[in-house]
Symmetry: C2
Subunit: 157 residues, 2 copies
DNA sequence: TCGAGTTGGTTGAACGCTCAACAAAATCGG
DNA sequence: CCGATTTTGTTGAGCGTTCAACCAACTCGA
């Protein structure tokens, strides 16, 4: 038997649309700022950040895809671009002959160091500053709940 | 004098990364579901929704761009695609010879009607169901605050 | 009324992402 | 040990978005 759709009520509609508007505007603004000031999209910035935090500034491609939340295909394309820019190089993995290590170059680290202050300032200005400390805390809990739930969906499939 | 960067502290980092992970996963999941089940990306779904709610199911291109939060260029390209699909048609505006009216076709309305239940179910499952009623309320306030703030930034430039 | 500036909309190139297909190496089960 | 399966990573085509450039029509002030 067909299941009746549980439509969104007026409050839920309002929440959903505000959420869409806010997240889209936020990410587009940060992306644009980063592109303008540092010549890289936000996704590439995140790759550089994760590499910069890793031991020896290097990670397996798969692990890097994992932590940046991207597909292997996406990361592969991105790595090719970042390699062209001289910000990253790839090297065969000694312990697994299928593997590739993504390694942040000095130029890549420098590009990240140049981009970071402006980007962090943007995150503050557009996300943290407008919210009260209590709201920041709420946002963290909400985000962690959603992220956990979505991760479960992935592993369950 | 150079201004010192106000870096994110550990809590802020955690919040920011959880937020990134959650919103990215949420939007990608919904986009994928919509693409799989209805053959359209989420952005196009939103265009159809807004048109379906407008008087006579039609809107000026500019107004449609406004409410869907997209650039005029983006909407122009999207409208071309939607027109190919037979879900939308464009017609000259009687009151402004520069203008174009975007009009939802019957086929477009039908496609929307077919896509909506599955999509709403996805929004429920991935967003509303995992959150408590209090959190949904918090998320609404947070989103509205951020959206207002970001809209101010736009108009101020 | 006429010129300058603004608004509405489109276009094409460049770019990033998705998806499916693929190849090579590792792992697992019998 | 060997065949089947899984994991790792890349590739190319197709699509959606951005950005800058552009034209046409509207508006407004002198």
């Amino acid at each position: 038997m067909a299941v009746m759709t549980r439509w969104l009520d007026a409050d839920e509609q309002r929440t959903w649309r505000a959420f869409l508007t806010a997240t889209r505007a936020l990410m587009e603004t940060l992306d644009r700022e980063l592109q303008r000031d540092a010549g890289m999209p936000h996704a590439y910035y995140e790759i550089l950040v994760r590499l910069s935090e890793a031991p020896d500034r290097q990670l397996r491609m798969s692990d890097l895809a994992q932590v940046t939340g991207s597909s292997r295909s996406r990361l592969s394309h991105a790595a090719a671009r970042l390699e062209e820019a001289g910000w990253l190089r790839r090297q065969e993995c000694p312990t697994d002959r299928r593997g590739q290590l993504a390694i942040l170059t000095d130029a890549g680290f420098a590009a990240l160091a140049a981009a970071a202050p402006g980007h962090v300032e943007g995150v503050r200005r557009h996300l943290f500053d407008p919210l009260s400390p209590a709201q920041v805390d709420q946002l963290r809990r909400i985000s962690e709940t959603l992220a956990d739930h979505l991760a479960d969906d992935r592993t369950a499939s």
